[in-house]
Amino acid sequence: MKAQTDTPGRETTYIGAVSEAVRSILIEQDEAFVAGEDVAGAGGVFGSFRGLLDEFGDRRIVDTPISEEGIVGLGVGAAATGLRPIIDIMFMDFMGECMDEIANQMAKMRYMFGGSATLPITVLTMSGGGINMAAQHSQSLEAWICHLPGLKVVAPSTPYDTKGLIISAARDNNPVFVVMNKLSLRNRGPVPEEPYEVPIGSANVVREGTDVTVVTYSRMVGEAEKAAETLAGEEISAEVIDLRSLQPLDTESILESVRKTNRAVVVHEAVRFGGLGGEIASQIQEHAFDYLDAPVTRVGAPFSPVPFSPVLEQAYLPNAIKIASEVRELFS
């Protein structure tokens, strides 16, 4: 489904879209509050919450100790008892500090309790490399949380989708992780001023094509679009799908495209082995095998921690060149 992004004249940054979305939810829902490290006085280390403390006060914008397990537990307990927490986990690498509260509590409480608990939690977190933050502040760990029944996971690539998906997440009655991308924070794009939703579970065809489908999300959408531009000059017409939502996954949109193009490459910044690409490739082969003219292949990071040195990091990260090269292989 093509998103409505044609509000004339008004643009904001990706990070500005975060602030706008959170602000609109705080206005809309008395039960909503923000908790996390440096969210109040500092406005968030990425600026996501700038100005919110002045507007909403410290009852609703809550600085926490550096205690991720405590922060997520606060979210779980507050949500189960009737509030609608917006929890900030600054870098998704820090999920290691709070994985029990995510995996064993947040994801499972409703099911374990036979449906009697409802957990409307929004978790905002940052993923991705490219800013020389090395191995513990650059990972793309979305596969960890997509594997947990009970959680929803979205990963916006544009300011428009960021605002719309955060609003959808905060209005949803389930735990939703909004996995954002650090290198995209200053990207600008059209964003309507009023609140709007981008539906969770709905992919977006960002470029139409006929020869191959590139399935991707988050920052790799831009890289895939660049690759598609290059390939167009080589008479390869690539369709680019921005998944936007990783759990649930819009399998139908992927299959519809692959049935048309007969080829698919799945691209993500996360480590290739055990990443979502394997799941998506498998689903394509299960449901559209007869339509395929080539194996479904994957582009992802190599099986290595994210390196520090800018030279090594650039060698590590997937990009448009690597995507184009992988696509060409399908036609050789």
């Binding site: 205690s67 405590g70 307990g77």
Partner: protein
Amino acid sequence: MDLSDSTLLDIHRRMVRIRTFETEAGKLAEAGKIPGALHLYVGQEAIAAGVMSQLSNQDWITSTHRGHGHLIAKGGEFGPMFAELYGRATGYCKGKGGSMHISNMDLGMLGANGIVGAGPPIAVGAAFTLKYRESDNVTVTFFGDGASNEGSFHEAANMASLYKLPLLFVCENNGYGEYTPQESHQAILDVADRASGYGMPGVVVDGMDAIAVYESVHAAIARAKSGSGPTLLECKTYRFFDHVGVRGMGLAYRTDEELAEWQKRDPIHMFEARLQELGVLSADQAKAIHEEILSAVQRGIEFAESSPMPDPATLLEDVYA
């Protein structure tokens, strides 16, 4: 403090309800009728009863893997509790949680928990809600000596004290983290000492004495409601049954003499003796209460055994709201 006769009898009833339920549940587990693992609360009844006799359904608790006693004391009914242990559709969790996740949101019980130490951070959230809404209620988080070594406890203690939340940390120190004695898992004798590191009072309580528990909880609730923040109450107690299941004697990790010594201070026997002294409850009256509760437990078992199994079609229900 002077407790009214009705309060004393209320505490007694809660303790006997727990003891009877757990004893019968243990027999059923040994007979192979209940699937999975049971962590039974026998020996620790004075704590749940002393706390819960002062809470309403609007007060929240988080529990532990040894959670049946907490739910019973919070008002849990035998029928849907046994049904949950049996994995039946009529259980409190529709058979999806079992012993380790038994819960009842309407009673303010945020679940037993299979993860040691996972409750305190959730309790911080529940207490946060109470403060956010300017409610006059409190949250109580139960945990063991073993859980007091988990980082989650320390993060929760710091946050609760920092935010002055209406929260009670009730440590049920039964002397063992699973099978490891306290002296082998922590370098302190009193978990209550940990409170000072978080700027809250820490109190050591005789966890076999329901009145002592009641009194210390009463003070901690008053402090919580006054806006002064949490208290850590360490209730010294003992597990009469094993970590899992029933078998009490003849286990390598603790001596039979140690168990026998603690059983001399059985919380229900001591409390009944006290109630007799006070002229509140005669031996005959106590016997009648035990019998009445036993038949209620038996009705609960019958309810569970005659309840339907969950329909496999419900497997994927309630993964999401």
